[in-house]
């Protein structure tokens, strides 16, 4: 069952600084369907527009970010809405209770001069009127469920280790048991052991609450470990989307092939190559397929036309002329 659906979503940053106009095509025609009760991974490198995509999906659209086209339709239970058309008040009610967000930089999203408890209080009180005792129960129960010590409530953010902070942020984002959770690089910049703990936590939450997690990270190994489905984003577009096993076993897009083929493995010292060159800046995309300057299989058509995302196999979509030609 689809819980979130977008069609040709376009969100650009349109800025004008000292008279020079600039358009950054951060999200450029993205269509996704995300199902209920799944972990959906979005993979991509820095600057591919994945953070902007999340912002748009969350309805955090403030100038200079502008949505030019497309809707973001949710159907959570019997609640159906386009998040881009909600008023600030409605947005406020939707967030945390229905849709929540785990940000990337846990250090900077918690107010450094307030105790964790106060942050919980603020976030809960903003959505629910509850008694002091109820609050205590709610938070302690939640922390227990997530395997976090209660003492963290009395700590200041800086007193926690990076991993603990990230877990607290996750707890904060999930305290009201939202149906849809966006997690933006939740484990980047964490040590491997901690990373494992954090990912484990996300998995647990999903298992228990049966909700949808949209996980954004550039780390394919994480995706492999947790996601049900993965979308690969490149230069503002989804270029490939499939079940996790499928994508790892059978990547179709040349970029995906590079991405997966270059992953080192312990116990395997064989030579690995990265894709040549660098991703293009979103403000200045090459014509045609954005990947064509780096693509070893580039054709004339790739330089001129933009391939669209089509289903190549059962549930495996890809945007590449190499593949779509076969279809």
């Amino acid at each position: 069952m689809t819980i979130l659906k977008t069609e040709n979503l376009k969100a650009y940053y349109i800025t004008e600084i000292f008279g020079i106009k600039r358009t950054v095509k951060a999200v450029d025609g993205v269509s996704i369907d995300i199902n209920n009760n799944e972990i959906f991974g979005i993979a991509g490198e820095s600057g591919c527009g994945k953070s902007t995509l999340i912002k748009t999906l969350l309805g955090i659209v403030k100038p200079p970010l502008t949505v030019l086209d497309g809707d973001v339709n949710y159907s959570i239970g019997d609640k159906k809405f386009n998040i881009l058309s909600l008023s600030p008040r409605e947005l406020k009610n939707i967030r945390w209770e229905y849709i929540s967000y785990i940000p990337q930089s846990s250090m900077s999203v918690l107010n450094p001069v307030r105790r964790i408890r106060d942050s919980f209080k603020s976030f809960i009180n903003a959505h629910k009127k509850i008694e002091k005792k109820e609050f205590k129960n709610l938070v302690e129960e939640h922390l227990n469920a997530l395997g976090l010590p209660i003492e963290v409530l009395n700590a200041y953010p800086h007193q926690l280790s990076g991993g603990m902070r990230q877990r607290v942020t996750i707890a904060l984002a999930t305290i009201l048991k939202p149906k849809v959770i966006f997690a933006d690089e939740p484990s980047t910049a964490l040590d491997v052991v901690v990373q494992r703990g954090v990912i484990q936590l996300l998995k647990d939450i999903q298992k228990e609450q049966k909700n949808t997690i949209i996980l954004v990270t550039h780390d394919m190994a994480i995706h492999a470990n947790i996601c049900d489905r993965i979308a690969i984003m490149y230069a503002g577009k989804i270029i490939e989307e499939a079940k996790t096993e499928e994508i790892f076993k059978n990547p179709l897009h040349p970029y995906t092939k590079y991405l997966i083929g270059s992953l080192p493995k312990i116990g395997d010292k064989s030579y690995r190559v990265s894709a040549p060159g660098s991703p293009p800046p979103l403000s200045n995309l090459p014509p045609g397929c954005s990947f064509h300057p780096r693509c070893p299989y580039v054709t004339e058509r790739c330089r001129k036309e933009i391939p669209s995302l089509v289903e190549a196999r059962d549930g495996h979509k890809v945007a590449c002329f190499l593949v779509s030609k076969e279809v």
Partner: protein, 288 residues
């Protein structure tokens, strides 16, 4: 530099305002060189005349033309503040950079001196010195005096900024590129602290102008030299408020306000312009 000003003028209203007011002030200051009246001579025009075509801003009870007096006042006050600002900036920047970068005993020693300056009750000391050497308190000397006393806090601010810059990795890169301390400070750090220097300089300038006014109101600066402060002093002393000679008192007060607002606007807008964050954006944009 020139193109930066052009861009700021075109796209930043605050800058446009600040810049045009400042230009006007400087123009007026220059105009003073062409004044038909000697500001030290009294009784050159009829007394207490309200503004008219002949006397744009009226005349004083001493028989001076307010407009032309104001041009001198602007010139001297600006000159004074520039002198004081330059002196105090030199001290503050040197001290802030050295202590911040070098650290150790030198830092502790200089900061103790610095703190001693911070805690000195400035007004009594200025009053003391001013009342004694007032005869010699021409614009230059007053500027130097205020410059000598106006750096302590800003040196502290700069130091803390340098302290945080010192921790950034590019410091090591610069060091390992074989750069010497001085060139690291100048080439690497200065671009970051220039906005701060600008902001503190503007603030300092305002402080200097304000301090001069205070000293003048107390009758402690050289009252024969027309400055904003002495203009206020004379007008207050001649009861221009009670006698309804509003043009005399309002002129310097209004100039003070204008100067402040324009300096503030300039400071905000220039800091923003030079701020690394926005600066990067801009560089990006310029390149397309």
């Amino acid at each position: 530099m020139f193109s930066a000003i052009k861009d700021l003028l075109k796209y930043d209203k605050r800058f446009t305002f600040g810049f045009s007011v400042m230009t006007l002030m400087i123009f007026l200051a220059i105009l003073s060189f062409f004044s038909p009246y000697d500001p030290k001579v009294w009784n050159v025009v009829p007394r207490d005349m309200p503004p008219s075509l002949k006397h744009l801003l009226g005349t004083t009870s001493m028989g001076q033309d307010v407009f032309w007096l104001a041009t001198y006042a602007i010139r001297n006050s600006l000159l004074l503040s520039v002198i004081a600002v330059i002196i105090s900036r030199v001290i503050a920047i040197l001290l802030g950079l050295i202590t911040g970068y070098k650290g150790g005993f030198l830092d502790r020693f200089l900061m103790t001196i610095n703190d001693s300056f911070v805690i000195l009750p400035l007004l009594p000391i200025l009053i003391l010195i001013a009342s004694v050497i007032k005869g010699a308190l021409n614009i230059n000397n007053l500027g130097i005096l205020l410059g000598i006393f106006g750096w302590a806090w800003d040196a502290r601010v700069l130091r803390s900024q340098i302290l945080s810059l010192r921790e950034r990795e590019f410091t090591y890169t610069a060091k390992l590129s074989g750069m010497k301390t001085l060139s690291i400070i100048i080439k690497e750090y200065l671009p970051f602290i220039i906005p701060l220097i600008m902001a503190t300089a503007m603030n300092n300038m305002l402080w200097v102008i304000g301090m001069e006014v205070t000293l003048a109101i107390l009758g402690l600066s050289s009252l024969e030299i027309p400055t904003l402060g002495t203009m206020i002093h004379w007008s207050v002393n001649s009861q221009s408020l009670l006698l309804g000679i509003w043009w005399w008192i309002l002129t310097p007060v209004f100039i003070c306000i204008l100067l402040f607002i324009s300096l503030y606007m300039l400071s905000v807008s220039i800091s923003e312009f030079l701020d690394p964050r926005t600066r990067l954006q801009r560089i990006e944009v310029m390149k397309g």
